[in-house]
């Protein structure tokens, strides 16, 4: 069966609370079976958008379709969608099995069928042997599994997860990233999850929608979001990036020539949304790990800039440097992998260094 690419489809969805535009004209298509992340800083409207999908928040305008059915004004209890709440919302007056079976009560199943499906769900989330525990007799990680089982047992078309890992401690969180991803692959249900943790989104999701101020600014795969951010704010939010103010001075053979002040003139690939015109102010962005630090001046023709090493820190698996360049206020941040044990040695702060980069390592961004 062909998987729909618009399995979940939002069109121009807006929601405001008083004067706050929590979600502002969001349109998104999410494919069947996709692991999709909504990523953005606190207060950007991720939770609100998720709650609109779940039916807990009524949008002021726009439409929501899931698997072709218009659910815009469908009440939450009638939607083929289930949610894992941020605090897991485990019913305190029920034990683990009763919690997991909660949503099956009214589906007209026999006792034996319910029991069998609960067993399946318990096995899926690896909770065997904990069925008779009270809701207060399980750990945070187990509570999360109960919440997952309780939602998955309904066989929803879409599973919504609001910051599913934020209530767990760091080690468990990293382990659950892998497990959650594996679980999603196994059950094949479309997952939409909210996070403000970019690493979480990058490591788990097939695609990520980056939100700012209620708007979706970019939807892309993790690698493309990192390597080809569409704007300066997306680039700064996902990982870190050095920005250089520049202006367009010409075009040549499909490339754009920009003058980036201290970096000098360079020719770059135009951004996908269209080439900027001559004279337009743009930004050149280079990620710290795309810069190489050297003591000797590079051979002629390479992209290079001379600076002074102002800070060097040893971070175990990598080194981090700050280099100041004449004519720039902010130091340039450089990261290098410690691929040989001697890599971190020999850098003296205050010394003169050269930074070089591959032409493909620099991105031309709209200002």
């Amino acid at each position: 069966m062909e998987k729909r690419s618009d399995f979940v489809s939002l069109r121009d969805v807006s929601k405001h609370f008083g004067t706050v535009r929590a979600v502002d004209g969001v349109s998104l298509d999410i494919a069947q079976g996709e692991f999709f992340a909504l990523l953005g800083p606190s207060g950007c409207g991720k939770t609100t958008l998720l709650r609109i999908l779940g039916g807990f928040e009524a949008s002021n305008s726009g439409s929501v379709h899931i698997d072709g059915a218009d659910l815009t004004i469908e009440p939450a209890n009638q939607r083929p969608v289930n949610m894992v709440f941020q605090n897991y919302a485990i019913f305190p007056h029920m034990n683990v099995r009763q919690n997991i079976a909660y949503g099956l009560r009214k589906d007209g199943l026999s006792k034996a069928e319910i029991s069998q499906r609960v067993d399946e769900a318990v096995a899926t989330v690896k909770l065997e042997g904990l069925g008779d525990r009270g809701s207060h007799e399980i750990s945070g990680g187990q509570r999360q599994r109960v919440a997952l089982a309780r939602a998955l047992i309904k066989h929803p078309k879409v599973l919504l997860l609001d910051e599913p890992l934020s209530a767990l401690d760091k080690n468990l969180r990293e382990q659950m990233r892998v497990e959650l991803r594996a679980l999603q692959q196994k059950v094949g249900i479309t997952f939409i999850f909210v996070t403000h943790d970019q690493e979480e989104a990058l490591s788990m999701a097939d695609r990520i929608a980056v939100m700012f101020e209620g708007e979706v600014r970019q939807v892309d795969t993790p690698a493309r979001l990192y390597e080809a951010p569409a704007s300066r704010e997306v680039a700064a939010f996902i990982g870190s990036m050095n920005f250089f103010d520049a202006s367009v001075v010409g075009a040549e053979g499909g490339k754009i020539i920009v003058d980036a002040g201290p970096l000098g003139k360079m020719s770059m690939a135009p951004p996908e949304e269209g080439a900027p015109v001559k004279g337009e102010a743009v930004t050149v962005g280079i990620r710290p790990e795309k810069l190489t630090l050297g003591e000797a001046p590079p051979s002629a023709g390479a992209n290079a800039i001379k600076g002074k090493l102002t800070a060097a820190s040893y971070l175990g698996e990598r080194n981090h440097f700050f280099v100041t360049v004449d004519g720039m206020d902010e130091p340039i941040s450089v990261a290098s992998q410690n691929s040989s044990p001697m890599d971190h040695k020999g850098w003296s702060e205050g010394g003169e260094v050269w930074l070089t980069w591959e032409p493909a390592g620099a991105r031309l961004l709209r200002a």
């Binding site: 779940g54 807990f56 009440p75 939450a76 209890n77 009638q78 289930n82 949610m83 709440f85 941020q86 605090n87 919302a89 019913f91 305190p92 007056h93 029920m94 009763q98 909660y102 949503g103 009560r105 009214k106 589906d107 309780r150 939602a151 309904k154």
Partner: protein
């Protein structure tokens, strides 16, 4: 060896004692708890155990004329258990109070629910407004119901004015129903508070989870909201049930002969018959009846709650 020397207790009996006490307080959470509770325990001892103890001792004495015979005997209890009219009165009082409790909780629950879930801002103002009647004198409130339900009261004159009746209705006042109405109204504000608290502290995401899993609003109420508010309901029920069994003002004023409760009898024993020992025994038997009934109700709600899951 050196470490032992370092931690050795200070010499002398006093010093050793100090170390022992210090160690006991530091290591024993239970003991620390009692020490922290000691003011409360003292108040409880003085204000509860002592009076009840005195009452119990009195109930074992007997009244002979104006003197009190101080020999310990169960005569008063035997008298009560052998006199059907006393036992009936206690039973009826418990029954009336149970009805009052039921009516009060049914009245208070929707109000508490409304404030907890439907009011978004200034909940405290609503709570104060609702509890204000409680500040006015209890007697005044009972008299208000007398005026409403009375022979020439508001209901009767209203109905007469409307031409619905030509003779005043006499079944409104001076019966158990009037007692139930008056007491339920008087105690509703007290019952609202614990129910409100149990609803207010309920995690709202639990309700959303129930909806998410397919519950209609009614199913959600029955499966999540109600079971989770049961502690508040039980607290409210106890707060109403326990004091109303012994109430004698309301039965006296609006109850008539049928609406008489055990409180009136106790009052009569202490102040009119001047038989304190018998009054004390009555009080103890009533307290036992209240305890047994409360435990029974508590047990039944617990069972019902477990079955509802």
């Amino acid at each position: 060896m050196t470490s032992e020397a370092q931690t050795a207790p200070p010499a002398g009996t006093i010093g050793r004692l100090r170390t022992v006490v210090k160690g006991a307080i530091f290591r024993n959470a239970g003991l620390r708890g009692y020490i922290l509770l000691s003011p409360t325990l003292l108040v409880l001892l003085g204000a509860m155990c002592l009076p009840v103890g005195i009452l119990a001792v009195y109930s074992l004495w007997t009244q002979s004329g104006v003197e009190i015979d101080h020999t310990l005997t169960l005569a008063n209890y035997l008298k009560i258990f052998n006199k059907p009219s006393y036992m009936l009165l206690i039973g009826k009082s418990v029954l009336i109070s149970l009805t009052v409790t039921l009516a009060t909780v049914l009245l208070a629950y929707p109000i508490a629910y409304f404030i907890a879930f439907k009011i978004k801002r200034h909940k405290i103002v609503w709570l104060i407004l609702i509890t204000i009647p409680f500040v006015t004198s209890y007697l005044l409130r009972v008299f208000a119901w007398k005026i409403i339900l009375g022979y020439n009261g508001i209901i009767n004159s209203g109905l007469k004015w409307l031409g619905v009746i030509d003779q005043p209705l006499t079944f409104l006042l001076h019966n158990p129903t009037a007692v139930v109405i008056t007491l339920a109204h008087a105690w509703a504000p007290i019952a609202i508070l614990p129910i409100f608290v149990s609803l207010e502290k309920m995690d709202r995401s639990l309700l959303e989870a129930a909806t998410d899993l397919g519950d209609s609003p009614l199913q959600r109420f029955l499966r999540v909201t109600l079971p989770l508010s049961i502690p508040g309901v039980v607290a409210a029920a106890m707060l109403v049930f326990i004091p109303t069994v012994g109430d004698y003002i309301t039965p006296q004023l609006v109850g008539g002969p049928d609406g008489m409760m055990v409180g009136s009898l106790m009052h009569a024993m202490f102040f009119r018959a001047n038989d304190w020992p018998l009054g004390s025994a009555l009080a103890i038997v009533s307290a036992l009846a209240i305890t047994v009934t409360s435990l029974g109700v508590w047990f039944l709600t617990k069972q019902a709650r477990e079955r509802a899951v």
